[in-house]
Amino acid sequence: MINDKNSQKIVDHIHNFARKHSLWVLAYGTGCGAIEIPPTMTSRYDAERLGVRGAATPRQADLLLITGYLTTKTLKRVIRVYEQMQDPKYVIGFGSCTINGGMYYDSYNTINALDRYLPVDVYINGCMPRPEAVIAGFTKLQELITAGKADGAAKYKEKLEWYRKNQKNVIPNWTMPEYNW
């Protein structure tokens, strides 16, 4: 509708402002990090004051929290859920396990580096990350959104083949329905 470059910039700015202050987290506790989500959301830490709130289904969500280690079985579901989310969408990796496998580095059932399979915008380290750290992660993501750098979803589309190759490497039976992006 608006072709002018400057006004596009302004529109982008407004959009980014809205996006960063309204992060709807998909209700999916993939790992043990899920235990620190309730404290983050409830009275002491109250992430809702940053505009972070839960969303029940992937269609409504903006933010996918990978709360800890991912088994291959969960990874398959996470990929499906992630692909059902609407752009722009963000991924936060929680805890050491998502970064390099953490203490499960030698487990036969968990992946060791999340960003090979999904585009991660922000990692929060720790085991467990404390609610403060989680909130710091949210603010970091907000900064990235403002700067326009939280473009994981775009990267994912761009490098889809690479991601798919990695995903299919670890998921033995790839029975996903056909998506049209």
């Binding site: 390099n100 487990s107 036969y108």
Partner: protein, 188 residues
């Protein structure tokens, strides 16, 4: 406690002469028996002696001895004694009798042991997959399954996992941030 255990051992000996008893201190007593008799021992203990609670079923892989050891741990709230019943089965032909008719919860244990060790429980009715999805290798809990090798083959390992490497600078370079002073002074 002590006399109860002696009585119990005597009682079981009467019914199952082959049973081997081993007493531990406090409230534990162990019995070993061959696998065919395990269900009848358990049924006897549950129905006649009040050992109504099946606390645990475990499996140990004795690779060196080519055997699996199955351990059934049962508990009586009246006697307050826990009994460990050990049985050994051939590792190359691992078959065991199903006891989920005696205790319903045994079903879950057996499903897991079947999946993790590849032990067949005769007459077990449950879905094939329990914890693993589309697993078609060696049952992973067997001693000869090398999980570290499997993991390093299958999954990408991020560099820096090797012991005692300081990755902070690399992370900082990657994310374009300064390392805060307080972080600098800690070192391994």
């Amino acid at each position: 406690m002590k006399e109860n255990k002696v009585k119990l051992a005597k009682y079981l000996k009467e019914h199952f002469p082959a049973i081997i008893e081993k007493d531990y201190n406090y409230n534990r007593i162990d019995f070993s028996i061959n696998r065919e008799l395990v269900p009848s021992v358990l049924r006897l203990l549950k129905e006649e002696s009040g050992y109504i609670h099946l606390s645990h079923i475990s499996c140990v892989d004795w690779l060196e001895e080519e055997e699996f050891e199955l351990v059934f741990i049962i508990w009586s709230p009246v006697d307050k004694i826990k009994i460990l019943i050990h049985t050994r089965i051939d590792r190359n032909n691992p078959v065991m009798d199903n006891i989920d008719k005696i205790w319903r919860q045994a079903n879950t244990y057996e499903r897991e042991i079947k999946e993790m060790y590849g032990i067949e429980f005769t007459g077990l009715e449950a879905a094939d997959e329990f914890l693993l999805e589309d697993w078609n290798g060696m049952p992973p809990m067997r001693r000869d399954f090398d999980t570290a090798a499997y993991a390093s083959n299958k999954y990408y390992n991020r560099p820096g996992r090797e012991d005692a490497m300081d990755v902070r600078e690399e992370i900082a370079r990657h994310s374009g941030e300064e390392i805060p002073d307080f972080a600098k002074k800690y070192s391994r």
